[in-house]
Symmetry: D2
Subunit: 374 residues, 4 copies
């Protein structure tokens, strides 16, 4: 089966997430990266494109969208891996030309942009895939499947957190710089960068939407313009309650995304840094350790696993699962078929939910952690 | 040195915590249990007293207080281990007769009682010791010492939680029954029974008081009259912020009290179920595992440790530390000396703070998690 | 029920294990320590006895045995907690006068002494209890019960180890000094001090005796006269095979005794430093975490547990279990009854097996790790 | 830079390791798989090649070697991923035509073949790379670097193990079938399949060769023709001693390769199933957790890491590191340059050492675990 011709916007030499997307696209051999506008600076865009050996290098994404759309074998999909404030305009250019978009999270830097992008996607035949990559981990799929199967009964409590420590002090390298600039990152700092991952993970696993939240955000590092710590109370549809904590000032935490879900008849626990394990406790029985592809793991996890249990898959494989799910959808689209039922990836709706979450956190915190509906 | 003559109120045959107090009082050989009114039912009180071989068995605590106070070698201290609603009246009887009180937590079942008991203690020469036993763990002492030494810089974030699972379903045995009855337990359910432990631990380690809180309490099990899950946002004096979660409906959690504290220059983590370990991360350095009496552990922990590292001490030893600290204070009192400076135990002030915490949680939750000052 | 009158030989001020025995004897309130010959130096014996408030202080153990045997209310049992080379002669004095002996391990410093002591015990009506204390841990009992129940099928592989690090360099304090002196410790260094614990634990849990072994012992620290590291291949009766590793020169290990047992249908794992957990994997199913007194734990563990799951019991409670089992046996003996069937403690036979193990290791190693029958 | 043209021998549809090699070769985008003889059955070879979209599909490897060597743009390297007994003849065909060989472990199924293959490699200008993939893990590189830097002083003790459980019962699927057939797997069962990994890992990290060993091998499952459990005592050059355990009958173990190394001044621990962590204890200091790319990790690990700490890399990335190291060497070879000094991959010498290890284990065990020189 022919590889999907892929382009990339952003992701030049000094970027982190662009390289991740490129590896993720390669792991299952479903894509071939052929074109790119890898930087907002034309010289950098050219230089980075050459290093990668791209067939077609562009100075800017709009030019790329226009030309690729006209080529007989132009790109079928584009990965957008720029800072947040560029997502909306870049994605729109490709969507309106029927090129599938694989976009980094959060969807946009403002809620207004997010809503406009939803419309742009609705008006396009192209697919829109958001890389809330943690939903690609096999044991996250396992957790979702178990909740859906009723293994925990009705869900009561959701504890989700994503602490980091890298912004415990003022940092001035590029990754830190744009992520703490509200003009580029959006109004949320830790809430936007990692809180949205936690929020999305809770929704994905439980299948429940957050109805309202109360957020107490703080910028602990002097001079910081966006929150670097967020404490959020959650109320889910159907009566479940939760807590969400995101922080970039918690020394000893690297990417300690972790979720615990408790229902009437059992509980589960999963941690991103040890992603091949899922802890499951049926109430009144010993805790069980389910391993990726191991005893007790089901179809949903097996679908997105490559190797036997005890040989760990990691972040890049989870990320690759989003790309490979997208590939299945794109190939179905090529053939005029609907997306297969078992294909699962975060959509623009998830993206909008994420930006609404950030917006609600910021508004709640501004009102002394008052409850805000979502 | 002569053992301290000890009495006990509550703690009959079918009680759990009475047995714990008795073992704790024996471990360091500082007490001799000689008298008791071990049940509110006289027959049970007699039977339980005989099983324990008590020298003097009473039908009720008031009778015991009166008679022991008159004896030449009457009890010097009494342990009060009844359900919460009895604490106030029982403690008052002993305090007013100059008998030291070692009382289980929470201090009382109502805030009004707590305030009256504070006055009773102020008017007594006797000591008042509250068994917030988790403060007796050596590595909790270590954590407190490190915070006080400035090892973490100014504290920014405190995450504390105490989940259990035993009340995930309706239970009707004795321990469950009185703990879910507001008349005996107080207005707080999980908040009173275990949330106070979490609150006290955060105060003890950080040395910071909670200034205000916003609590979202819930009774998930149908028919339950008190909360079985509490989500609480905390604001500490000096600007630190925190989250406190207590739950009795979280399957897979036995007594999973856990605290994480983050400051400008480092972070720590401690978990009650693995109490001999303290994780310490100086920002920018590898995480370190400090063990009880092992490398990196200091004087505060060594003072309350009995055996070498790698041989675990547990819950009973931590509880015994409260008793042994109390013994040091009682012996000093015997001799007309002040309590030695390094002796550390939870006081009636801590007890009042705990009841204020419960009261604030209940009031905040009744007002839709509005902020309540403490 | 009247407490058992207990004496102690060894365990003066600067000893470690004497204090452990005293706490262990107190935890369940079955003993009262009334007499002692706590040091081989009379002045120290007197001073140490006074600190403990002993009723009767002796200058040496023989004098103590003679006089206590004549007293109407003399000691019923004696704890022997001296360096190893004293065990035999001290124990003999009490055994021949009908006083029960609770003796620290290893049984003796030579195999000849061990055999003589076995005869002395056979000729005495008194009980002999060896404090291979790790067999007192509830989850060790659980493991033994599960093996006996056939939960693992026929046992195939046993991996047991006890690494420490405290002798990684030359040490000159008292504990190190006698333990590395073959005249007092015996011919085995790490094999005698901790290897015997590992050997006994394997026997206790599996119910299998070691038939032969091949040992490669080493003294890594220059000038050391006994082994500080032992690598041992084991062959058990019935065909199971195993490895035993003991070391005192393994930095990062405190008292890391750990055992793993694998049978036809499942495996288990237990570690002394986290003693409240037992890992059980039925082949083809997820690994399960059984906790002390928690879901999945059975009667054998419950019998020797004091408090609910999630509240850790530790080394001292495990040690106390040996004392309390001994107390049950002693009380039965008082009443002319046989030792109750569920009472379980290490006997002089276990002690002899331990000394045979040490002897076999030393002989095997001297012959280039040749196989030696046990 | 042009991708390296790669062929593959073995690795058809129902193979496991072939797919792993393909992903590993893609992750860093250094190879393009263009040709293959993917099965010893021509129909399967054709079918599997078509599924992968190979440019050139061959019925057998010899035909492939001959033709590719003649093509202008024939393959530059070949991956050999067949059962062990095919390695020698297949590798020889490519080596003698100057095509680089990337070969799965163990090197061959017999020692005689291994020695012949060494000669074949010596007579070829082509490179020979053995995929002892665990040496590709960043924290294994970190461990090796620390040992080489003298962070542990002189090495004393090495404990290495690789337990699995999948062969606890008789299995008849393809992976199990050839691995338990001495004609295809070689004389070692667990020793050959996984014991060699453990042996190689110990050599790689410590830089020490095993001088002699004593092995007690067993086939526990009735009817099994090769060992499924191996207990091995090790003596290293320079005086260090060790134990190696490999097992395929240890329920609860998936791929639990784990190594612990102790020297005069410190110890380390690494486990394959949690590969992003390295535990380091400087004697007398707290244990430290070094994470991949995190605080405390050095250049050797960073060289082979792709993403920030806290985002786990796994088995496939470690495997990819071997491929990418090989790619650096192949590119240097293209340009007539020596292999760069920091490029590190297992060589044919490592392969020979591995087969010698298997052979020594089998011979030692046949002689009742007598010492055998390596």
């Amino acid at each position: 089966m022919a590889r999907i011709r892929l382009g990339m916007v952003g992701g030049g030499n000094d970027a982190f997430i662009g390289g991740v997307h490129r590896i993720a696209s390669r792991i299952d051999d479903r894509y071939e990266l052929v074109a790119g506008a890898l930087s907002s600076t034309p010289e950098k865009a050219q230089a980075s494109g050459k290093v990668l050996g791209l067939a077609r290098i562009y100075d800017d994404y709009k030019q790329m969208a226009i030309r690729e759309a006209r080529l007989k074998n132009g790109i079928e999909a584009v990965s957008i891996v720029t800072p947040n404030h560029v997502h909306y305009e870049a994605a729109r250019e490709f969507l309106k030309r029927g090129i599938h978009v694989i976009c980094d999270k959060p969807l946009t830097s403002t809620l207004a942009d997010a809503k406009k992008l939803v419309k742009a996607a609705e008006n396009s035949k192209a697919l829109f895939v958001l890389t809330h990559n943690y939903t690609g981990y096999p044991m996250v799929r396992q957790a979702r499947e178990m909740v859906a199967n009723g293994d925990f009964g009705k869900i009561r409590v959701v504890q989700v957190e994503y602490p980091q420590d890298w912004l415990s002090v003022e940092q001035d390298f590029k990754q830190a710089e744009w992520r703490t600039d509200p003009a580029r990152s959006g109004a949320g700092g830790s809430t936007g960068d990692i809180g949205t991952h936690a929020h999305n993970l809770a929704r994905f696993i439980t299948g429940l939407e957050v109805e309202s939240l109360a957020a107490d955000l703080e910028a602990f590092v002097p001079g910081r313009k966006v929150d670097d710590n967020g404490h959020v109370l959650l109320r889910f549809e159907g009566g479940a309650k939760g807590m969400l904590w995101c922080s970039q000032v918690a020394p000893g935490n690297e990417n300690a995304l972790r979720i615990r879900v408790y229902g009437e008849t059992g509980g589960l626990e999963w941690a991103q840094e040890d992603p091949n394990y899922l802890w499951h406790t049926p109430f009144g029985e010993p805790k069980r350790l389910i391993t990726r592809n191991g005893a007790g793991a089901g179809d949903a996890a097996a679908r997105v696993s490559r190797i036997p249990p005890g040989h760990p898959e990691g972040y890049l494989e989870g990320f690759a699962n989003i790309y490979s799910e997208a590939a299945d959808a794109i190939v179905a689209h090529r053939d005029g078929q609907p997306v297969p039922a078992d294909v699962l990836f975060p959509t623009i709706t998830d993206g909008l939910k994420g930006v609404e979450f950030i917006d609600a956190c910021v508004r709640s915190s501004a009102r002394n952690a008052a409850w805000v509906k979502l």
